[in-house]
Symmetry: C2
Subunit: 301 residues, 2 copies
């Protein structure tokens, strides 16, 4: 449905390819429709978190390749049901939605941790060695190199020999205080606006929202400082947050992420770089890291 008067752009939709005008090069929707099963990756259920909010579920894929200690800690906290009954504490427009223990600062009232740790050394970047990145060709304002690894947006510097996850929309990080080791994954946030790339390498990113992003991005904004909810506003409880691998099989979301190390991915990036749909009169021929998220699709159970 593309009403004539309205801004009509085809973007990849879950499990649905829109018909495109015929062009010499395939559109991104056509590339996805014509992809093979081996172009898609099914995330490890132990690296998937399912958070249930009153408005709906949020599915997050964790990135142990970048934040192994935080990921392990989050998995422990999820296993002990630490997050259940905690809340979304902050929603700041064009910035983040953040969730955790509203009583975190109160030693008597805060939720105790059993196996989970309340603090971990920051995992702000990692060695570039051993990381097969699929580079993007058009550069970046913030980093010498940008590309993708298993669907995660990555910035890197060969000179420094380091790589780090980038704060694109939907990326999930571990809130911390002023010191590098003051986070742990007990507090988490997701980017809900323009990518705040100045946060890269300052805080541990732990993963990416695969589904249900709207259940975070459409939450009411908080009216306290920095978008924290005032007491009368704090009405978004976390019903549950569990590792998908610990859910009964019939409750596990069945999703796949487009692999980012294939010819299909390269073609997909090219189709997003140069948009050939009829609506585009001036395709830019350039692509920015955060403007080409790896598509996610639902698969039959």
């Amino acid at each position: 449905m593309t009403p004539r008067r309205l801004l009509s752009l085809a973007l990849p939709l879950l499990a649905l390819a829109l018909p495109q005008a015929q062009a010499q090069a395939a559109s991104s929707a056509e590339i996805l429709a014509q992809s093979s099963a081996s172009d898609w990756r099914r995330p490890d259920p132990d690296n998937l978190l399912l958070m249930q909010l009153p408005g709906g579920p949020v599915l997050i894929e964790l990135a142990p390749a970048f934040a192994p200690r935080h990921v392990a800690n989050i998995q422990k906290l999820a296993r002990e049901r630490y997050y259940d009954g905690l809340a979304v504490v902050r929603v700041q427009d064009n910035y983040v939605a953040q969730w955790g223990d509203p009583q975190a600062e109160d030693a008597t009232l805060r939720r105790p941790m059993i196996e989970g740790q309340p603090q971990l050394p920051g995992e702000f970047s990692r060695p570039i060695a051993g990381l097969e990145l699929s580079p993007l060709p058009d550069g970046d304002v913030y980093a010498p190199g940008v590309g993708y690894y298993q669907g995660f947006p990555v910035a890197s510097s060969r000179k420094l020999g380091r790589a780090w996850l980038a704060h694109c929309y939907g990326m999930v990080g571990a809130g911390r205080g002023d010191t590098a080791d003051s986070g742990s994954g007990a507090e988490l946030y997701a980017v809900i606006g323009h990518a705040p790339r100045h946060l890269d390498r300052n805080v541990t990113l732990v993963g990416r929202v695969l589904q249900g992003m709207e259940n975070l991005s459409s939450l009411p904004r908080g009216h306290g400082p920095l978008g924290f909810y005032l007491p009368e506003e704090a009405n978004t409880p976390i019903r549950s947050l569990q590792k998908v691998g610990e859910l009964p099989p019939e409750q596990r979301p069945k999703v796949e992420v487009l692999r980012t190390d294939t010819a299909t991915w390269k073609a997909y990036v090219e189709a997003r770089r140069t948009r050939r749909e009829d609506w585009f009169l001036e395709p830019t021929g350039r692509i920015e890291l955060c403007n080409v998220p790896a598509p996610v699709r639902v698969v039959a159970p």
Copy 2:
């Protein structure tokens, strides 16, 4: 209020400067707090639109320097109360919220226009001559040059001799069909996610949301294709959309925008490039066009 465990970053707040740790260079909040009256610009009320949605108001500044015909047409449509009773028709996550006539495609049911025009030639870019841009120093993936003009984010090419508004968060554009002249400002959209810069020069941008962005960005996402609302979902009517200059003086929002052609603006940009607040352990020293929106403040009536 910066709870220890939480991601605590000071960002410019309307009419409120947060105390910052003392550092050799002032933080962005300090720069704003110490600014003089002449560092701020009061927008022309004839270039301000006030849209009332059920959730609250949205204040938009129009950019006649870039889209004079669309701006004039929108002012006419607002004057004849064309938008009143129309609706938000589409909210697509990480993309746009869009509003206009849900019946636009139906010749018998659509809202007639009196002085407003249903179609205009696209105003996708303009000559760079005569435009005093305040350049940003760190480059851009999409354009040879980037900078600010009267608080609007601008991309430019000296080689082409052209400049154009950029699709940063909160920018407002005129929806169109597949042909360049099929838009008019009767359909408008605002960017609610990561800046879709690939739209630059493809569509007429007309202005920027100054206040009330959350009343667009927190709307429920539509479940039709491209985020269009299904019939049972279309429940966000536009109560009114008027030019602020046509409101009684006591109803006019009193706002100022930081000027982007001053030493204060330069200092502000530098403070955002290199963040000196305690929380930042690794200031990036780089700034991207869409990561330094021109601050807005409320002034006493």
